[in-house]
């Protein structure tokens, strides 16, 4: 690999220009200046190349060298990623903190996953065997939860001509050598390198058919996210985007979580680092940190690396998907990523499109979200990448370019609402503006795994909420008292649903994660309440008698009072509903 050299001729924040760069390749990774700042070539014109630099450029001088690395911006994918926190270009922040206390300096060079740590490797193939691309040749127990499969990198295959035995190795040691049909030899190590901007290949994409359980009622029942699907969570500041993302990272039933903090607050990443090791996954009884990878490019870290962080995250997600895992990636927030694009585009003096964003914003968003999917991997397993992107629209106005364009490429849209947030109704997901395109395809899944009537019940209860919003408009004009009793009943039931079902308390030990079964039974109970009371209201019983405060209260509190694992209380509650309305019915039919 030959190293070319160019010279810096222009510096403008994170964008620099160099000359003598005709041998450099587009999207190649380069080392800039005497401090060897890491950058990427983003355009070439004759001798002059433009580079975006992933580190602070203060102090960079004209005439300093630009050195090529001969390869595109890539990641080392191997054991040591889980439980760790990286910056936007996969440099481990813990390691950086050991090297340079508390603050992040520039010019720390290209460090990545730990090269000194020894891992216990179990070799799964023998000499003479022929390996295909993506085939698993060994495994490492990376954490108590995750067995890290060592795969033959894509595009490489051949016969094993040398192989090590089971044992303890570092990631840099060659574990096997394979020889392809042309006679070329490849060394297989514990890690592989992969360019971040290129989607990893799969055998085939499959249809989406499974629910990503999140333990959040409004999602699992009303606006389900599917494994391999895409979702966007837009909302103004203070509406709970990050809270929702954290809840999903904590409780969704993916095997691996990649959490990308893209241009957000430093303290939020710290919170994840402090909380996650203590939270226990309900499925496995292990700390959820053992399945989580964190990527942090906080708002004050260099802007170009923020642009890269999203790709770093999705590449890691695809890598674990290729092992046959179900991966969910949370990108918080994609607006910051789009703004990074805009900032760099502005410094390149490109012609701006809407609101100063570059014209290629929609295509970049599409490229990103299209990397989600439920697939059949090269090694014949099922795996998936689910993308959940937060969007931070300026002023909470959803008609801005990032939200608008994101909407075109995602199937679940969870609109966060400022009014709900002000009233501290959390999660502040507005049930009227949100949608999920996966309800139909998940119908079979619900039928097999939960109940036949889930979709019907969902539609009925959403309809009630919709009616309530119409009625509220009237109430705002003339007051509640003038409505007929059957309509007032809808208001009452909707209130039970809002408080007892839609609101979910992330800080309550019982309510923060609710199993699907209880979610369904809860909604069913509210429906039962509605059915029984509706029958009686039609018989002319006044609403004041139908609304028994104690009973209604008990139903609203079932999320707290009935334990997730023992649903006997829900049966009792249904009996109580019957008992109360039977009595009421008797009383009135006597008259």
């Amino acid at each position: 690999m030959s190293n070319y050299q160019g010279t810096v001729i222009m510096v403008n924040g994170p964008v620099i220009q160099g000359t003598g760069m005709s041998d450099f390749k587009m999207r190649e990774m380069v080392m800039t200046g005497n401090k060897k700042l890491i950058g990427e070539v983003i355009s070439i014109e004759g001798e002059v190349g433009i580079i975006q630099v992933y580190e602070e450029t203060e102090g960079l001088r004209i005439g300093e060298p630009i050195i090529s690395t001969g390869k595109p911006l890539s990641l080392k994918l191997g054991p040591g990623m889980i439980g760790n926190m990286f910056d936007g270009i996969e440099r481990p922040l813990k390691k950086i903190n050991e090297m340079s206390e508390n603050f992040i300096p520039e010019g720390i060079g290209l460090i990545s996953i730990d090269t000194e740590k020894k891992w216990d490797v179990k070799i799964l193939v023998k000499q003479g065997e022929t390996l295909n691309s993506g085939q698993i040749f060994g495994e490492v127990q990376e954490t108590s939860l995750i067995s890290h499969k060592l795969m033959v990198p894509p595009k490489i295959e051949g016969e094993v001509i040398r192989i090590k035995e089971n044992g303890s190795y570092t990631i840099e040691e060659t574990l096997a050598v394979i020889k392809d049909q042309k006679g070329e030899e490849y060394e297989l190590k514990m890690y592989q390198e992969w360019p971040v901007r290129e989607p990893r290949p799969v055998k085939e994409r499959m249809a989406i058919s499974k629910l990503l359980r999140t333990g959040q009622r409004i999602l699992d029942i009303f606006f389900p996210i599917a494994k391999g699907g895409t979702a966007a969570i837009p909302g103004g500041f203070g509406t709970g985007k990050t809270m929702t993302q954290h809840q999903l990272a904590k409780w969704s039933d993916a095997d691996i979580i990649v959490y990308v903090g893209c241009g957000e607050r430093g303290n939020e990443m710290t919170e994840v680092l402090e909380d996650f090791p203590q939270l226990i996954d309900p499925k496995t009884d292990k700390p959820i940190m053992e399945r989580t990878i964190l990527i942090a490019n906080t708002s004050n870290m260099p802007v170009a690396a923020r642009e890269a962080s999203i790709y770093t995250g999705i590449t890691m997600a695809e890598y674990f998907r290729d092992m046959g895992y179900h991966v969910a990636i949370m990108a918080d927030s994609t607006s910051r990523w789009a703004e990074a694009l805009r900032e760099i585009s502005g410094r390149l003096e490109e012609m701006p499109a809407e609101e100063g964003y570059p014209a290629y914003l929609p295509s970049r968003l599409a490229e990103f979200y299209e990397r989600a999917g439920y697939v059949h991997t090269l090694n014949e397993q099922d795996g998936s990448v689910t993308i959940i992107g937060a969007v931070s629209p300026p002023g909470g106005d959803f008609s801005e370019p990032v939200t608008e364009n994101t909407k075109r490429y995602v199937n679940v849209f969870l609109a966060l609402d400022r009014e709900l947030a002000y009233a501290r109704h959390f999660p502040a997901i507005n049930w009227l503006n949100s949608y999920s395109g996966y309800v139909k395809v998940l119908n079979n899944w619900y039928e097999e795994n939960l109940d036949e009537n889930v979709i019907k019940l969902r539609a009925k209860m959403l309809e009630l909420l919709y009616q309530e919003s119409k009625l509220q408009e009237i109430v705002m004009l003339v007051g509640e008292d003038v409505l007929p009793d059957d309509q007032r009943l809808i208001l009452e039931i909707a209130k039970v649903m809002r408080i007892g079902f839609l609101q979910q308390n992330a800080f309550h030990s019982e309510d923060t994660y609710v199993p699907l079964k209880k979610q369904y039974r809860m909604l069913k109970t509210i429906e039962h309440l509605y059915n029984r009371s509706y029958e009686i209201v039609k018989k002319g019983v006044p609403i004041s008698h139908i609304k028994n405060k104690k009973l209604f209260n008990e139903i609203m509190k079932m999320k707290y009072n009935i334990p997730n694992e023992n649903l006997q209380g829900i049966d009792d509650l249904n009996d109580k509903i019957d008992e109360y309305y039977n009595k009421l019915e008797e009383k009135y039919s006597e008259k």
Binding site: N97, P105, N267, G356, R418, F507
Partner: protein, 465 residues
């Protein structure tokens, strides 16, 4: 050895351009000697081949393309700091303006700082009692938090800030030292004087460091004022182990200065003419607040910004809200009702309070009470809107109770005298007094056991069930 360049190509606003420069570093500080004028400093903000664009800190008036000589220092913008800065006042580029001498210390600090490694941060959890009910109960300030005050022109944000400074128990432990760093960006002389006076009254004057850029000072210095102040704060917090409260006013002037320079540089504007990097730039200020795992000190940041036209969706409050950990919003309507402090609690928020209140921090009932007040007060707004239409008499019994709650909440809990310093217990007891207007079953956010313990008007609750 040092080369001096004698000819400028262009002077426009705060920017000058030079060419034929052999060796310049991005971000480097330059010195400008002007014939029969004062020396000026500037900073390289763009290099293109041998052409360099420099942003001059002092005003560029008096500079001609021929009458000045420019030399490059080879260093980034640095200030020297020592403990002697306490009690002193500086201008936006760190030069003393109080008649005292310069600060000398071998160690100098780059005012741009460096991003804190998220791994090194300590998550803030200790609350600061400000003695102001609306803040303590509903938007609790946490040590190490960045919590801006969103205000409007003419509202009482300065008084509120002064009261916070006067009453805030930044450290509960008497051994720990606290100090205030005050950054005034483009403020009027009388506003700056008001703060100086209130610092003196709070007998913390010898623990205050001031960086002041008056409204008639050069705008390029508005960019450096908050950076000097934060660099001083970092020094005091992380090297001298002090708890620092940084007050920054007015962020709106800062952003306008940024816009002015950006337009002089002919950059592509984004929303309302502000540069596309406004978010990153503001983040480079706000994110310097926080705590570190292996340091005792802390930086709590209280920026004040006046929302142009009281519009919370304007880019300045909007981007700020996305970076800071909540916001305290002042409302014109409450101000017109003659309430002080006019904190509009519904859009106000403290993101860190969830981990710093409740049992072991403030009082066990605090989280539920705060939650209930938010929820009930938001209901009050709906009922008020309704009563505007159908009249107060026609409201239902329960709605009338909500109307009463709204009134008392504003007049008793939110409203407070400038000299009234309430403990958190007093504040929470007051909250219960107000919540007890409602029947117990309306308190859907509070744990029944807590209602049992704290609810004042038990009869009221029983009658309506």
């Amino acid at each position: 050895m040092k080369k001096e360049y004698l000819k400028l190509d262009r002077i426009e606003g705060p920017l000058i351009e030079l060419s034929d420069i052999e060796d310049a570093a991005y971000g480097e500080v330059i010195k400008i000697k002007v014939e029969d004028g004062e020396d000026k400093t500037g900073k390289v903000i763009k290099i293109e081949n041998d052409r360099v664009v420099v942003q001059v800190f002092e005003s560029t008036s008096g500079i001609s393309v021929k009458n000045s000589s420019v030399s490059f220092t080879g260093k980034p913008f640095e200030i020297s700091l020592s403990k002697d800065i306490l009690g002193r006042a500086f201008n936006g580029i760190g030069e003393p303006i109080d008649g005292g001498g310069r600060i000398f210390n071998k160690k100098v600090y780059n005012i741009n700082g460096r991003p804190i490694n998220p791994v090194a941060r300590k998550y803030p959890r200790n609350y600061i009692q400000t003695g102001i009910s609306s803040i303590d109960a509903l938007t609790t300030l946490i040590r190490g938090q960045k919590l801006p005050i969103f205000s409007g022109n003419g509202l009482s944000h300065n008084e509120l800030t002064a009261q916070i400074v006067k009453q805030a128990k930044i450290s509960t432990d008497t051994d720990e030292v606290f100090a205030i760093v005050f950054a005034a960006i483009g403020v009027r002389h009388d506003d700056a004087d008001f703060f100086k006076k209130s610092f003196q009254e709070s007998d913390a004057f010898n623990r205050v460091v001031m960086y002041i850029n008056y409204a008639d000072d050069p705008i390029a210095e508005r960019i450096t004022t908050p950076r000097c102040a934060l660099t001083a704060a970092e020094y005091l917090a992380f090297e001298e182990n002090m708890h620092i409260l940084v007050i920054m006013t007015d962020i709106t002037s800062y952003c306008e200065a940024l816009r002015e320079i950006s337009s002089a540089r002919e950059e592509v504007p984004s929303r309302k003419g502000y540069p596309g990097y406004l978010y990153s730039d503001l983040a480079s200020l706000y994110e310097r607040a926080g705590m570190l795992k292996d340091k005792k000190g802390s930086i709590t940041l209280l920026p004040i910004l006046t929302m142009p036209n009281d519009d919370i969706t304007h880019p300045i409050p909007d981007l700020t809200g996305y970076i800071t950990e909540g916001q305290i919003v002042l409302g014109r309507e409450l101000y017109q009702k003659n309430l002080y402090p006019p904190v509009n609690i519904l859009p106000s928020l403290s993101r860190l309070m969830k981990d710093g209140i409740g049992k072991g921090y403030t009082r066990e009932d605090h989280p539920d009470v705060a939650n209930q007040l938010f929820s009930s007060y938001s209901k009050v707004q709906e009922i008020r809107a309704l009563s505007q239409i159908i009249g107060e008499e026609d409201l239902s019994e329960i709605d009338k109770k909500y109307m009463k709650l709204g009134k008392e909440f504003e007049s008793k809990l939110i409203s407070q005298d400038f000299n009234d310093n309430r403990s958190i217990e007093e504040t929470l007891d007051l909250a219960w007094e107000i919540l007890s207007i409602l029947p117990t079953e309306e308190l859907d956010r509070i744990d029944p056991n807590l209602i049992e313990k704290y609810f004042l008007n038990k009869d009221n609750g029983n009658k309506s069930t």
